[in-house]
């Protein structure tokens, strides 16, 4: 059995074969077909490398590959791709960088909140520094004075002493602070964010590029990214005049079930810098039937002639001719982010690569672009002179495709949706949430607005949907997704099973508010007592059904039942809502079924006037704070 590819993809493959593309070790597409064979899928839990980022040493002789799945940095010979050494780092590393002199390699380990320091001469791990919550990228300044670490959960940038690793301060960033990119002169850092900044309910999302002055170690500017909810890698041209950021532009204010009318997302680039002007300009990558779902990695060729963008969902690298792009910008007045005819003016190639391509790296001469394919453990080598994959390098690791891996591939690909526009990961960034409110169903504009839920630890929290309408994951991800989201063919049964198995396997990320040893702070302990209390502040009994713990019961904080908590609006189709799980609830603002509560506090300070969402109006402000401190530990 083979996966059915979109017609355009199939024709591209055929064309590539006809051109006699040289492939060193196996064809990527042949490999994919082999991977997709259901009989080959293994029920084992296998550890894949899952490469996400790459760096070349300053002399171009070594290639460092950051492997998120195996918690490693793999050091390869950049010419032969033979292994030199494998270095274990922290858990789920997501970003790394070399010191300006190339002597040290810094790795941001997201799940154990550390930075690993590797001596690039000895290739030994020489230090592990604790940092903020979910460090995602790390950069050292030119002077060797400070290390900057983007913390995704604490929404800030930790500034460390470059020698000792001691944290000196934190800079306020945007929500989901993730990817730091230095300017060519090292004077500025550009930081992107994977979640949108807080915004009023039903307002268009907005993110930012936070600009940091490295000498002063302060934020000096925030470039607004209007309509952008998620931004990823940034590249700056060698002359420092052109900045390019990969961005996701959701169309969440209109019903999602209109893929056939132009899509749920625009996959775009945000351009900024003196070449562009005072305001950033958003340009689309998509073209009708040739979408570039989930742009992630960006590189600008050393001569600034081309921009290269990976798209994880579409599994391609898009190539943009910069001169043509500039002509287009001069001739057209924005906005054109959703114009599906625009990209043909400047996109010169869409190169198929591996599964979920992420980070990219240029060879020293600029003739080769390396692409890390996270979900098939390969590196695509693109000859930038002809814009073709000339070789695909497999990384060491399991050759069998496990059920979980196939489920993950299914989750991240866009191939199942109408014209390959979106995938699960569009709305569940890195298998979590997106911080957005969606108008999901074709029941009229503005009806049944729903907050997107987190996927962490969802096993055992069924039913799904806010109205509790889907009894299990296969129902949620099968017929419902087919009908409302993909507007296309459904998964085959085994693929759906693999996807459901993957989703059930998603663990909760570590809770940063819970102290080591699981002991609660005094404030958290007081909050726990309020959560479970049977009498109010006046000594009157609280009805069992009006206690927090009644609905939010069990280890995941859900009774798996629906209740009326007094939040129904005229635009809702019903007033009973499924009890959401509390896992890492502190991270997933906004709250309530339609996201009307911007913060946990607002659930009770603004939207519980009649005590129908638990008895809370007797609480003093500090008691409510205690309750929230406890909830953050869940």
């Amino acid at each position: 059995m083979t996966l059915r590819l979109p017609s355009t993809r199939a024709s591209e493959v055929a064309a590539a074969v006809a051109l006699g593309v040289s492939v060193v070790i196996g064809s990527l597409w042949n490999g994919r077909r082999a991977h997709a064979g259901v009989n080959d899928r293994s029920g084992e839990v296998l550890t894949y490398a899952s490469p996400v980022e790459m760096l070349l040493s300053p002399d171009g002789k070594r290639l460092y590959v950051l492997c998120q799945g195996s918690d490693q940095v793999r050091v390869l010979n950049a010419a032969s791709f033979e292994s030199i050494k494998t270095i274990s780092v922290g858990h789920i590393p997501r970003g790394f960088s070399l010191s300006p002199d190339g002597a040290r390699l810094f790795v941001a380990n997201t799940w154990d909140d550390t930075v690993s320091v590797i001596d690039t001469t000895s290739l030994e791990l020489v230090a592990t520094w604790p940092v903020g919550a979910e460090p995602t990228s790390v950069v050292e300044d030119r002077e060797g004075k400070h290390i900057f670490v983007a913390n995704r959960i604490s929404n800030d940038v930790a500034v460390l002493n470059a020698q000792t690793g001691e944290e000196e301060k934190r800079l306020a960033a945007g929500r989901g602070a993730s990817y730091l990119t230095p300017s060519p002169d090292g004077k500025r850092l550009y930081l992107t964010h994977v979640y949108p900044n807080p915004a009023p309910q039903r307002a268009a999302p907005e993110s930012e590029i936070t600009v940091i002055d490295t000498a002063r170690a302060t934020v000096i500017e925030r470039i607004p990214l209007r309509n952008i909810a998620h931004a990823f890698h940034v590249a700056i041209s060698a002359d420092g005049r052109l900045g390019v950021g990969a961005a996701l532009h959701p169309k969440n204010l209109i019903p999602l079930a209109h893929l056939e009318h132009g899509g749920a997302f625009a996959d775009t680039l945000m351009l900024f810098g003196s070449d562009i002007g005072d305001k950033p300009v958003e340009i689309p990558l998509d073209e009708l039937e040739r979408y570039a779902a989930r742009p992630f990695g960006v590189a600008i060729s050393p001569d600034k002639s081309h921009i290269y963008v990976t798209s994880g969902g579409s599994e391609i690298v898009t190539v943009i001719d910069v001169a043509r792009l500039m002509r287009f910008l001069r001739a057209h007045k924005p906005p054109f982010a959703q114009d599906l005819s625009a990209s043909s003016n400047y996109v010169v190639a869409r190169i198929p690569v591996g599964q979920d391509p992420r980070g990219v790296a240029f060879s020293v001469d600029g003739h080769s672009l390396l692409v890390a394919n996270r979900l098939d453990d390969t590196i695509s080598v693109i000859d930038t002179r002809v814009n073709r994959v000339t070789s695909t390098i497999p990384l060491e690791g399991p050759k069998r495709l496990s059920v979980l891996r196939h489920g993950e591939q299914t989750f991240y690909t866009a191939r199942y949706s109408f014209q390959g526009q979106i995938g699960c990961a569009n709305c569940h960034i890195d298998s979590t949430f997106d911080g957005l409110t969606w108008d999901l169903e074709p029941d009229g504009f503005g009806r049944d607005i729903v907050d997107n839920k987190n996927l962490e630890d969802i096993k055992g929290t069924e039913p799904f949907k806010w109205n509790g309408g889907n009894p299990d994951i296969p129902t949620e991800c099968g017929p419902r997704t087919e009908k409302y989201f993909w507007r296309s063919e459904n998964y085959d049964d085994l693929t759906l099973t693999d996807l459901a198995t993957y989703l059930r396997s998603l663990p909760p990320r570590p809770n940063r508010w819970r102290q080591p040893g699981s002991e609660l702070t005094p404030a958290q302990e007081r909050g726990r007592a309020i959560f479970s209390r049977a009498t109010d502040s006046f000594g009157k009994p609280i009805a069992e059904t009006n206690r927090c713990v009644y609905c939010h019961s069990g280890p995941q904080g859900t009774s798996q039942r629906s209740f009326d908590v007094g939040t129904e609006r005229l635009t809702d189709n019903a007033g009973l809502f499924d009890t959401p799980q509390l896992t890492n609830i502190a991270l997933t603002a906004p709250y309530l079924h339609d996201a009307r509560a911007a913060t946990l506090e607002e659930i009770w300070t603004k939207f519980n006037p009649d005590d129908r969402h638990g008895r809370t109006n007797d609480l003093k402000k500090d008691e409510l704070n205690d309750l929230i401190q406890y909830l953050r530990t869940r």
Partner: protein
């Protein structure tokens, strides 16, 4: 009963002073407060109090006529070359010779900005307003209110930043925000010796945090022991000073400043200095203080401090006093020096602060910035001839 009488007298006095000295322009406003009181501030250099005599300034005054958002200025903050002014109608930023105004449309919590504090590590500015607390960071404004956060009350009279902690003085107790964890800690009559919860100003340092609590003296938090302590007027609520220099001068405190391990306190009935062992109090009758009604105190070091009163701006260098104001009778600029022996000298000057009702003070190198009820003043130090 006596407390109520005291409060009534003070309130009446304030209203009278406001009515007398401020033209009709300012609308009914809360009792003006600010006192960002960054206790680590030592930027005012020695030249402000040279042995040659009290410093002389040329005052340049800003009003709405030259771009200030509003003439009623509650607070002022020096941020390098930039000046922030918290006014009754927006937050002003003076940069490169021009004023820019931030309003609620920009995300500011409320138009009336009562207090300001600078996080020197990050460059972020914190603004306490009548409607919550705002952070201005790289041009973005984030707002914390009693509804959307753990902040105890939206009326934020004072704010001060120390390391990763933002300490806030509100009309309903003290609050602390831990910027690293996002956790709010509230301090009130239930967990501190605070008799009243109307906290009016805060000065936070890595060792001690002081709150001026309106009607409840001074509250001290020891950062090491995490224990609260309290300083009261030994005369209790009696307006007579029976025990001078034996404790805080009065319970109705308005401002605190903590520099070089010395605490300075402003009240509506005189001012105090406490070095950890001895108290020294300042009253008009035995010092150069122009009025006991003091809105703000800002220390230069252990021995020198500036006072903002309802009758002018005063400087104390440890022995001598200097007062800068428009004359209370003629309105003409005047500078008066009172030396340690009590001799008074008038110094001819051509400029004075915009108004004698002083609300807040900050230092910029040798210069001083003064928030008044009728404009913002920049005192530029003049070289002694």
């Amino acid at each position: 009963m006596k407390r109520n009488t005291t409060l009534a007298i003070v309130a009446a006095a304030f209203l009278a002073v406001t009515a007398l000295n401020v033209n009709a322009a300012p609308p009914p406003t809360p009792t003006p407060r600010s006192a960002s009181a960054n206790a680590n501030t030592k930027v005012a250099t020695a030249r402000l109090a040279t042995p040659q005599g009290s410093p002389r300034f040329r005052f340049e005054n800003f009003t709405t006529a030259n771009g200030l958002p509003d003439d009623h200025v509650y607070s002022v903050l020096v941020d390098g070359d930039r000046i922030w002014a918290g006014t009754d109608n927006g937050l002003g930023l003076y940069e490169n010779g021009k004023w820019k105004t931030f309003t609620t449309k920009d995300g500011l919590a409320h138009r009336a900005v009562l207090s300001l504090a600078l996080d020197k590590r990050t460059g972020d500015v914190w603004a306490g307003t009548m409607g919550g607390l705002s952070r201005i960071s790289g041009g973005r404004i984030d707002t914390y209110t009693q509804l959307n956060s753990g902040l105890s009350n939206d009326v934020v009279y004072g704010v001060s930043v120390e390391n990763e902690n933002v300490w806030v003085a509100t009309a309903a107790g003290a609050s602390r925000l831990d910027l690293n964890t996002g956790e709010w800690s509230l301090y009130n009559e239930r967990n501190t010796p605070m008799a009243e919860i109307w906290t009016y100003a805060v000065a936070a340092t890595p060792t001690k945090v002081y709150y001026a609590v309106w009607g409840s003296g001074v509250l001290e938090y020891n950062q090491q022991t995490k224990v609260w302590d309290k300083y009261d007027d030994p005369d209790g609520e009696n307006e007579m000073v029976l025990f001078k220099d034996q404790g805080l001068i009065h319970e109705i405190t308005t401002s605190v400043s903590y520099v070089d391990q010395v605490l300075w306190v402003a009240t509506y009935f005189g001012d105090s200095r406490y070095d950890g062992r001895y108290w020294h109090n300042f009253l008009t009758k035995d010092s150069g203080l122009p009025s006991n009604f003091t809105n703000v105190v800002k220390a230069v070091d252990a021995n020198r401090a500036w006072f903002g009163t309802d009758k002018g701006l005063a400087y104390y260098d440890g022995a001598n006093w200097a007062v800068y104001r428009p004359s209370l009778t003629t309105g003409k600029p005047e500078m008066t020096i009172r030396d340690a022996q009590g001799r008074i000298t008038q110094v001819p000057v051509n400029t004075a602060p915009a108004h004698n009702y002083i609300l807040n003070i900050d230092f910029q190198g040798n210069d001083i910035w003064v928030a008044t009820a009728k404009g913002l003043s920049h005192g530029i130090l003049q070289q002694e001839k």
